[in-house]
């Protein structure tokens, strides 16, 4: 999975949890709680959705690593690759 694919899927799941957001207006470095106003239940729901979509467990301690679309894309690329037993794709 490429960085762009991961980002697109992340945004897709994000706006399902918080449909008040306009995907076009979400910046790469917008913090999902501080800037996009998700609350902690939203974050849990997002983590569950990402788990279903990608098959990866995101432990509580890693939540800061998915706190912006840019961070989340890198995280998802690295962890889905690990799951598939492949080396991670270079992040473009």
């Amino acid at each position: 999975m490429t960085h762009d694919d991961a980002r697109a899927t992340f945004i897709e799941e994000l706006v399902k949890v918080a449909p008040d957001l306009d995907p076009e207006e979400i910046g790469d470095h917008d913090h999902i709680q501080d800037d996009l106003q998700l609350d902690s239940m939203d974050v849990l729901n997002l983590v569950t959705a990402l788990h279903t979509r990608f098959g990866i467990e995101i432990p509580e301690a890693d939540y800061e690593q998915i706190a912006t679309p840019a961070l989340a894309a890198a995280y998802l690329v690295a962890h889905t690759a690990k799951l598939a037993g492949e080396p991670a794709h270079p992040i473009s």
Binding site: V15, K16, A18, P19, D20, L21, Q33, D34, Q37, L38, D39, S40, M41, D42, L44, N45, P59, E60, A61, Y63, E64
Partner: protein, 580 residues
Amino acid sequence: MLGTIGKESARTRGASLPDPEKTRKSFTWDIAEAMLDGLPGGGLNIAYEALDRHVAAGHGAQVAIRWLGKGDDRRDFTYGDLAEQTSRFAQVLKMHGLNRGDSVFALMGRIPELYVAALGTLKAGLVFTPLFSAFGPEPIRTRMEIGSARVLVTTETLYRRKIAKWRDEIPSLELVLIVGETAPDGCTALAAAMAAAEPVMDVARTQPEDPALIHFTSGTTGKPKGAVHVHNAVLYHAISGRYALELTPETIYWCTADPGWVTGTSYGIISPLVNRVTMIVDEAEFDLDRWYSTIEREKVEVWYSAPTAIRMMMRAGAEAAAPYDFSSLRFLASVGEPLNPEAVVWSNRVFGRPFHDNWWQTETGGIMIANLAAQDVRPGSMGKPMPGIEAGIVKRTDGGVAELGNGDIGELALRPGWPSMMRTYLHEQARYDKCFVNGWYLSGDLAMRDTDGYYWFVGRADDLIKTSGHLVGPFEVENALIEHEAVAEAGVIGVPDETAGEVIKAYVTLVPGFAPSEELERSIRGHARKKLGPAVAPREIVFRNTLPKTRSGKIMRRLLKARELGLPEGDISTLETDET
């Protein structure tokens, strides 16, 4: 039932209330009065009891608030600093021509200015109302209208995002104070105004029965209710903090509740400062490692939190807690919704201390029923009534109530008269009067008392929803939903959730011409989130052709809920049209 957690004498030796049963029998309000100073020359003012009297007694250099910003920012405010800052804030209000009794609203996160605004308002003799900063524009506006807000203190971001559009439509609103050095047009920069103000001020000579705080709480029907509390409430804030939370001078204390709700004001501002503790205030939202490291680094001794957060800690497991040192903790308490027994037992294992659940409401102003340090904990129980508080389990009868015995489920009721009880619902005396029957205050919560006097929460007697510790009225949510062009009718209930207690679910019918789709579901949910904010908006919306209604046209939320949970439908004799 999980086993009782006994309190061996070694642990309870230092308890503020070493023999609760004895104190319950002998308690008089003089004990609480002795904890306060009163204004020199007469009168009672919460801000004076919280700050100025400690400075006068030589404690001005003690840290009152250790503030942890979202980043690594860490700032200390002493009792002396806060006394000065609140005087300046009070002067700002005075310089703008505001008078005793005028209402000041605050809308901001847990930043230092919030604490200054709250106590500065009280010092000036004005009435303070905190609003939850994650509220959407609609709940904010409704509350400011009901409360005839004269002043709003907020940040520029929140102002632009949630207020600016309709600010001019609130005729009572004279002054908008914006935290920081600059302010948008028509607003006043707080930092500049404070710098120009005098650093000393005579505390307003408020009397015990003068209004001090208005906290809004949701109703099943109609608009939110503004529960009015008076300066005399500080008696109860002082003593309940001491007895139920072990707040003694210089204790390092962390209340994780946001002051936008009553817990965060009564026990996140007033009670701890009146008891001269050092408070930890964390601006950030729940983050497991951040919380655990805060307890370790700041050597937190007393920790008051809520079930949703505790359950999130449980989900992360004991391993996540293992690297941290929790030896500073000596008392843990929880409030907001019933704490499940597993969480009590888990916390005892992981932190070496159990969370002590307690029960109270916006209307009661302070903790009414509690698990105390020197009292065995029965996991899942809210504990026993506090000294000075008489509780009962009652059943409504024709024109009155009848008291029930041990083991019976009924409505939890309290004998009125404690100092922090609400004095009215703002502009709604009739609604207030309805809360009192035969000399009991009726809480709306169903509970049971066991043979040893412990109280157990059973459920709500009405349709109110408890989500992440916040009480949400279905009516307010339904009203926002039907403002969406596609929604004809809406019924809103709480469905059980292992983390949040309950989450909000909406059943809607559509206006002709609209058809159910995933896209429409998201459009409605997005609309509700924009209007109400994420804490109050539904997490799930389902479509129906019709909703179950009574003959008078009232949506039967109770029936929606029974069906959702697979429970018996109960009396459906008033059902006119059913759900399809």
